[in-house]
Subunit: 340 residues, 3 copies
């Protein structure tokens, strides 16, 4: 699908520096792009690679200097990239219809223009709305609701009673609605507390491969609309995740924690149970949020503290040897002074 | 299923403060409970919410003051909650029988009152005892044993030779018995050491979604009876986990480590290979146990140390800036004294 | 399969101290081995157990003293163990052929001597080479390539366009080629950046249960030949992993990072996006590599620093209380001197 550079600029609301008529067939990396391809420079660490790139044109933010290729300048080049890639790679949805091997309970209701792949299983009372795609090997329990245009990749499991909004995407291996980890100590061991709540995933949420969202003990675990969750993330029972959050890979959020809107948890971060993480909080990777956090905080460390304070602490730790030496020197001086 | 508050008190061995005849239809959260519902207060941080709750009755430990609702007082309210929820939500087991699409090897033996769901696969030599439930899409290899009333949720994989006790619950995506990570270095790369041992999971173990328990290199990886494992946990080859342990989400236990009984590993904790973690050891979340730990220890940190020591260290780290300032002040004083 | 000790020595290029004619039926642990079994001592912490072992013979490195059993001495006993176990446990490959329930697209090409298990699904344009084993419940998308003798365990998902070399092993629950975590911020939320690249897994790579390797945004995520990846590992989009690396359980490698050859990342380690980790770098478990690392570095900590420096820092942290006390003592001395 060939586009002229000027057309792409119009699509993204940007402007061309150079030849608006240049034909572009695709997008590629700086190292591999050819004269008929667009590449992009959004991270200054790749400025050198951009200058050396064989790309016919480069997508750049305003104010980038020293490039000889034609340029498509956009205020938000990442967003422009999203639009261009969506245009050039429209994706393919499988045809509507139910594969003959799919097991659809007679008390389930599946929209005519949903696509249900081979070996899928859909339980009684479940409603599958228009445009839903279940790839092969998806198991949906009873009494679930899948909103329109939601797409579940192979090997997704959705336990009974889960509610999914519209345009939700679940990648392979996601498990929605497994029992929360709730036990009461008795004289003979850990007695299971039945987990009788559910999971609600709002519109336009995307959840990465092999992540798990547990059902609530009583009411619901909820993932707010527009939130994006990466691979191998654990969201425990009763957790409330706000809207437009980003939970990067291998994050864990413990039971009954609440995240506000637009929270960003970087990779391998943990959030303790019952804490309250305010809107727009950003937590650095590998951190552990043990206490509630004010809206807008930037946190890092184990335990997580203000990220600037954490960075200064790292500098001080590097000076610890020097501190010890200076203290020993002072002790010697004082001893010498005394012995004078 | 309506119960009178007095009946619930009898069930859990508690007592009623208020109206024993109050009718209870269900259990709900403090915020959402209505006059015909029971809620509960076990965590003091929710005392305010309890006072404001519309619940008809509250399940509380002894000694809670200031509540106007009827109260069910129990020494162990969590255990009482487990019993009440079990009564009110008895759960549904699928009917016995083998789904026509299930692939059962002719040399497997499946009890007549087991339930085998759609598209399950059971290998030669495997024995499935009475009351076992395999939900759809469970794959069991050859020569396995599944004890009575064990329940496997969709997408569980059990490799050849695995032994499961009675009343085991495996949630979706659990992988039992994959090869341990064992390689020998040769001149040309990493040579695989065949992993010819097995996995043994004892009675009443529950394992959360997408957790993985690797087979032993030679003998067996073992999970002791009554132990509960959360989601996305990794137990490596040859590990011995004792009885009634709790392994919270995203914990990793490296090869040949041994955990005693009633060990608690909080979320995202790691235990190094070959170490010995004594009975009743409790490790705070996000810690790394690099050395063997005495029974009853409380540990925290990377590396994990006594948790009280770890807490004091955090306080000292916050004083590090002050320490530097005081040292600099001393140096100045001494210089001034000298120059006097 | 009985072997004489002398035959095993010949197999592994080792020598016998004791009876070359001793008959060996299998390999077992030190605690459980009998007179007709071989055990091994490779970790000095088990020297006592070795002396007490009932094994008929022990596989040992050169220079081990004080053992009364017959010994097979090998320079690299782990490599010898790999060879002996491979001989004694040859493993069983399922017979060639396509199970009648497998869904093979008419535009896929499957070698006659591949084995495709029950309920597998193979998409259009995919090529499955000679000797490939797909265990039951494997889903392969469109336009993939599976090299000869590659083995995929149950519940593996391979998204469209993924390329696997020869002798690759993927354990259950592995997800290859799910979308990378790429979004552009817009006024209304996070806009998905289509992930139109692919995953390439080179020859002799093994990937553990429930690990996930995301497809690239544009070109490819690549795992170099001979690299071994443990369970629950996350490799993000655009990552380049070199040859013969070891990524232990629960490691996460963020987007566009590059690992050289023979890199070892111990359990639960994280590597930040866009960093460059040189050949032969070794990172201790639970560390976070936030910056690029020179070839051959040994790193530990959060943030990861030289591992010897990290160890010294731990010692200094234990002295922090003492440092505070000494500083306070100095302050008192100085005050007393003044007041003299």
């Amino acid at each position: 699908m060939t586009q002229r550079l000027g057309e792409l600029a119009q699509l993204v609301g940007g402007r061309v520096e150079g030849d608006r008529e240049r034909e572009i067939d695709g997008v590629s990396t700086l190292e591999r792009a050819t004269q008929r391809e667009l590449s992009f420079l959004t991270n200054p660490r790749y400025a050198e690679a951009a200058r050396a790139s064989g790309a016919g044109a480069l997508l750049v933010p305003p104010g980038v200097e020293g490039l000889t290729q034609d340029r498509l300048v956009a205020d938000n080049p990442y967003l422009a990239l999203a639009k261009i890639l969506t245009l050039l790679h429209p994706g393919r949805r499988p045809a509507a219809g139910i594969h003959p091997t799919a097991q659809i309970d007679s008390a389930a209701r599946v929209s005519d223009d949903a696509s249900i792949g081979a070996y899928c299983s859909v339980g009684a009372g479940t409603i599958v709305e228009s445009g839903v795609v279940l790839h092969p090997h998806v198991v949906i329990g009873c009494d679930c609701h899948l909103g329109s245009n939601t797409e579940l990749h192979p090997m997704v499991t959705v336990y009974d009673g889960s509610i999914l909004g519209s345009e939700v995407v679940l990648h392979s291996g996601v498990v929605l609605g497994a029992d929360g980890f709730g036990y009461a100590q008795s004289a003979t061991g850990h007695e299971k507390i039945p987990q009788v709540g559910r999971v609600v995933v709002e519109d336009r949420v995307e959840i990465g491969a092999n992540s798990t969202i547990d059902r609530a003990m009583l009411h619901e675990t909820r993932i707010g609309s527009g939130t994006k969750i990466d691979n191998l993330v654990m969201v425990a029972h009763n957790v409330q995740v706000g809207e437009h959050c980003l939970l990067i890979a291998q994050v864990g959020v413990a039971g009954s924690a609440r995240l506000g809107d637009q929270v960003v948890l970087a990779g391998q971060t943990g959030v303790a149970g019952h804490v309250d993480v305010g809107d727009r909080v950003q937590v650095a990777s590998k951190s552990a949020v043990f206490k509630s956090a004010e809206p807008g905080s930037r946190l890092a460390g184990i335990p997580a503290i203000d990220s600037m304070t954490w960075r200064r602490l790292q500098v001080r730790l590097r000076r610890l040897r020097d501190l010890e030496d200076r203290l020993a020197a002072l002790e010697r001086r004082l001893d010498e002074d005394r012995s004078d």
